[in-house]
């Protein structure tokens, strides 16, 4: 390169992207129907798999007869546990702390089934129709055993045991103490004791799961494509299951049609479909249908919590004593003990409550395994705390906003150690920066809290019952322990980010490109992104726990920062200059005396393109591995106003307000989208959805017709959002997570609003309902409450 080729110019003023409501580039292909979801991938040579699933909740498998199925048209193979080779057939569980019993699920039933829907055999056929036909002809001889579906009954002496060798159905326990765990009520203190019940739910992403497995590279490597939030973990598990080296396994994950936690799992089918591809040496595909999904995809939320709150006469909470039991179904999910652990760890939210004595248990039952769903256990935790606050306010005659003010942690007390958690990946909860009182006041103002009583009266004049519910929470987000990213300068001057964060609908393509564009000072159109390929990013953590933007975005931005160093070094060598003479600014390099000037990135790429470093796989690129020792804690105030028609039991949500703080916001348009979407999921959870098993362990909700999801008419008519943006020092760019909070706050806010609307009736709102019209009509038939109690 000669001096005269340097472009002498001033660096352009770079556009700022962080904080801007950038429209999503990924929308174009999605809106044209070309999203490239797993089922859209052309697989002309693939055989289709249908999974034969247990029809029994608890049984010994005596024999499996394949003959009739094998004779069915189009059938290629019928396979059972005996036909498939696994070095390790246990599915992983990440939260087995010391003392946890081994209730890990096996990929396929050998001699015993423990839930309806458990894989028992596989039919491989030329198409799905023939595979389903034949699957009905596989004869499985069951010897039924008594099932147990209720987790409280499963702990009784003499209850049927899922794992007789363990001698108990209680497979996990954790104790969580803070302050003085032996606290007791003093004279004049109020003691509230309640049992809260949380019903079983499921995520129902609109895209069911699916797996395609094939052998690649002359049959030497296994390629598994799956609808997973965790491609890198799946690769590790596949390698272990088959005794392969990591390099022999490639996992790719296409864009997901929603996940919400149910795709944060390593599933039996992911290993089984891979095993079939290895066994038959051909490409095979399994697409989950919706009926399967209800039985075979992890479920969520079900738990029982006994709470005892000691409250001083002024409304300040002295302590909480909790005992909780999760119904985790037949085996551990990947993080199936996390929700009940979150109850003790996060129940106190933004409230001081100096003393905590919590003991949590996981209980196995003959239901589909439980795992996380948007918010993990935080929705249940917030509901317990917020119901207790409203009960205390009612008993003590304190205004509901005022009792919260008296208990909130003040900004000056932060950061604050909230005690041991029992989580495998975070020893202590340490709240970062924030202003909880301001968040409450902002929410109250948004909701026009002070005017609500006149609102209630106006509704009453129309014959309607209006109620208002307040809920606050503090949520663990942006968890580590680490994440990795790679970024490469392309010959055309664009940069390509290889990210481990999966696109699940949250807009990670756009937010990550915003962060890189901001860091480099280039146009967002100059940043491309690739996601979901373990050949490109072999070592990473994945997409969950509201960590995509805050952790995945941070590591991508740090990788871009590293890329600048690489570029400066290469360019300095090329120009025969001291790297210290070169400064990155405005999307290019400014060079100091004696040859002043500015070279934009496209020009740098063109010039360095002739360099040896740019050739081959190495190229001009940078990698970064970020360590996140402490998660950061988002928080919010949710206020729901509900209106009940006492003639029909119909409940509407005319107004909903959210004041929240997720730290530095990358894209407010997408943050609002996460909040509204999460809130409506939470509304559906407490008003409509419920997974139902009969006492024999047969799943009764097996279709969308049975499991009622919120629809377009359930969206609150008036929805207000206020952003606070207190940066967190626990993240290099001040970001916290926001993906799950909407759901967390909505459970508690709606439950409190329902209780408030029905305050004249002697009815307990002790859990998640669901508060269906039937439930409401039953509540309205109760006797009126003693008016002096309200």
């Amino acid at each position: 390169m000669t001096e005269d080729k340097i472009i002498y110019a001033r660096p352009p003023r770079a556009r700022r992207y962080v904080g801007d409501a950038v429209l999503r580039a990924e929308d174009e292909c999605l809106l044209r129907g070309a999203g490239g979801f797993l089922a859209d991938i052309p697989t002309p040579d693939a055989a289709e798999i249908c999974v034969v699933r247990s029809t029994e909740a608890q049984a010994v498998v005596r024999a499996i007869r394949k003959e009739r199925a094998l004779a069915s048209p189009g059938v290629i193979a019928v396979l059972t546990a005996d036909d498939l080779d696994f070095v390790d057939d246990a599915l992983p569980c990440l939260d087995m702390i010391p003392g946890t019993l081994d209730a890990r699920q096996r990929v396929i039933a050998r001699d015993r089934v423990r839930y309806v829907g458990q894989p028992v055999a596989l039919v491989v056929a030329a198409n799905r129709y023939f595979a389903e036909d034949a699957s009905a002809l596989v004869e499985v001889m069951y010897e039924p055993l008594p099932p147990v579906t209720d987790h409280m009954a499963a702990m009784n002496p003499g209850a049927a045991l899922l794992y007789p060798e363990l001698g108990t159905n209680i497979v996990y326990q954790v104790t969580q103490h803070d302050g003085n765990a032996d606290f007791a009520a003093r004279e004049g203190d109020l003691v509230i004791r309640r049992r809260y019940e949380f019903h079983r739910q499921t995520a129902v992403p609109l895209e069911p799961r699916g797996v395609i497995a094939s052998l690649i590279d002359n049959g030497e490597r296994l390629h598994v494509e799956s609808c997973t939030q965790l491609p890198q973990m799946l690769r590790t598990v596949l390698a272990g299951a088959f005794g392969l080296r990591l390099a022999q396994v490639r996992v790719t994950a296409p864009r997901l049609g929603g996940g919400f936690g149910c795709k944060e799992m390593v599933y039996p089918e992911e290993l089984l479909v891979a095993a079939v591809a290895r066994k038959l040496q051909r490409t095979v595909r399994w697409l989950e249908d919706r009926r399967e999904h209800f039985a075979a995809t992890t479920q969520a939320r079900e738990e029982t919590v006994d709470a005892e709150a000691v409250v001083a006469a002024d409304g300040t909470f002295v302590g909480l004593r909790l005992k909780g039991w999760a119904n985790i179904g037949a085996a551990f999910g990947l993080v199936g003990n996390t929700p009940i652990t979150a109850m003790g760890a996060m129940v106190r939210g933004p409230y001081r409550v100096p003393n905590l004595d919590a003991k949590m248990f996981s209980v196995v039952t003959n239901k589909t395994p439980l795992n996380v769903l948007r918010g993990a256990g935080a929705p249940q935790a917030a509901l317990v705390m917020e119901r207790l606050l409203d009960e205390a306010a009612l008993s003590l005659g304190i205004d509901r906003a005022e009792i919260r003010r008296r208990n909130l942690i003040q900004p000056g007390e932060l950061p604050l150690d909230r005690g041991a958690t029992g989580f495998a990946n975070a020893n202590h909860i340490i709240y970062d920066e924030g202003d909880y009182p301001r968040c409450l006041e902002t929410g109250l103002n948004l909701a026009e809290y002070d005017n609500f009583e006149s609102d209630r009266k106006a509704a009453a004049a129309r014959g309607k019952l209006r109620g208002l519910g307040i809920a606050m929470y503090v949520e663990i987000t942006a968890v580590g322990p680490y994440e990795t990213a790679r970024i490469a300068l392309q010959p055309d001057g664009t940069v390509l980010l290889f990210s481990s964060i999966m696109p699940v609908g949250q807009g990670s393509e756009t937010t990550q490109r915003q962060l890189v564009a901001e860091e480099l000072g280039i146009a967002i159109e100059q940043v491309a992104i690739r996601q979901g390929d373990t050949d490109e990013v072999p070592d990473a953590v994945g997409t969950f726990a509201s960590r995509g933007a805050a952790v995945g975005g941070a590591v991508g931005r740090m990788a871009a920062r590293e890329l600048v160093k690489t570029i400066l070094n290469c360019l300095a060598a090329e120009l025969n200059r001291d790297p210290a003479d070169l400064v990155w600014e405005g999307g290019g390099v400014s060079i100091a005396e004696p040859a002043e000037g500015f070279i934009p990135l496209a020009e740098i790429a063109a010039r360095l393109g002739s360099l040896r470093q740019f050739e081959g796989a190495k190229g001009i690129e940078a990698k970064y591995r970020i360590h996140i020792p402490k998660p950061s804690y988002s928080y919010a105030t949710h206020i729901a106003v509900v209106e009940i028609d006492p003639q029909t039991g119909r409940l509407e949500i005319p107004r909903y307000s959210v004041a929240h703080d997720c730290g530095k916001i990358v894209n407010p348009l997408l943050v609002d989208g996460q909040i509204v979407g999460g809130v409506v999921q939470g509304i559906g959870a407490v008003l409509r959805e419920r997974i139902v098993y009969d006492p024999e362990g047969k799943l009764l909700t097996r279709a969308m017709m049975d499991y009622v999801l919120p629809g377009a008419s359930d969206a609150p008519a008036d929805f207000k959002i206020s952003h606070m943006e207190t940066p967190t020092s626990f993240n290099p760019f001040g970001m916290r997570g926001v993906g799950e909070g909407g759901s967390i706050g909505a459970h508690a806010a709606v439950a409190n609003a329902v209780a408030d609307a029905l305050r004249d009736y002697d009815v307990a709102v002790d859990g998640s309902g669901p508060f269906t019209p039937t439930w409401i009509m039953e509540a309205l038939s109760r006797p009126l409450r003693d008016p002096t109690l309200r």
């Binding site: 429209l23 809106l31 198409n127 929603g258 969308m704 629809g711 008419s713 909407g742």
Partner: protein
């Protein structure tokens, strides 16, 4: 049109003794003659045989609306209809509406209003909107809610979909989420 190569799926049907039906349909303006197994779902015919994968299968029981297409001018569920039942019909899928590139005005409203997140349900919503436009549904009429009640979206909470749909139908007042800084 894609999907004309023989696949193992198609060969297996041919090898079986199952009854097949000849159908003549117009798909996105093109005549299609095909022999289809009597029990082949229309959604599978369009996706697997013709490679028209914009329509999605979310429930296969007519509950979620992701497979919505337009048949003879009306929004319809392709997952609860047999291909053989479509004999003589004029079928429109999202591929038949897409401009050669980029987004049309309805699609642009969805993007601007952030009315999609994962995007899996989106083609179904769009087909319903096109059917509503064809029938000149008024943006303020109760019919809008009836049409929208046929779709499930798990991501957006519907609010932005309402906004985009009403704008696509010609509404002059926008309802947006209030945002206070």
């Amino acid at each position: 049109m894609a999907g004309t190569d023989p696949t193992i799926e198609k060969m297996a049907w041919a090898d079986s003794n199952e009854s097949q039906t000849e159908i003549h349909v117009v798909v996105n303006g093109k005549e299609v003659h095909a022999s289809v197994p009597d029990r082949l779902l229309l959604s599978d015919f369009l996706r697997e045989r013709l490679g028209l994968t914009a329509l999605k299968v979310g429930c296969a029981e007519g509950a979620c609306g992701a497979c919505t297409i337009v048949i003879d001018g009306e929004a319809a569920r392709s997952c609860i209809m047999l291909a053989a039942q479509a004999e003589g019909a004029e079928i429109l899928t999202l591929e038949g509406i897409n401009a050669p590139q980029g987004l049309d005005h309805v699609q642009k409203f969805f993007q601007q209003d952030h009315a999609l997140q994962c995007g899996y349900c989106t083609p179904g919503w769009l087909m319903t909107v096109y059917a509503m436009i064809k029938r000149s549904v008024h943006p303020d009429s109760q019919e809008v809610g009836q049409y929208l009640s046929g779709h499930i979206c798990r991501c957006t909470g519907y609010r932005n979909i309402w906004t985009a749909v009403r704008r696509a139908l010609g509404a002059t007042s926008d309802e947006h989420v209030d945002r206070e800084k």
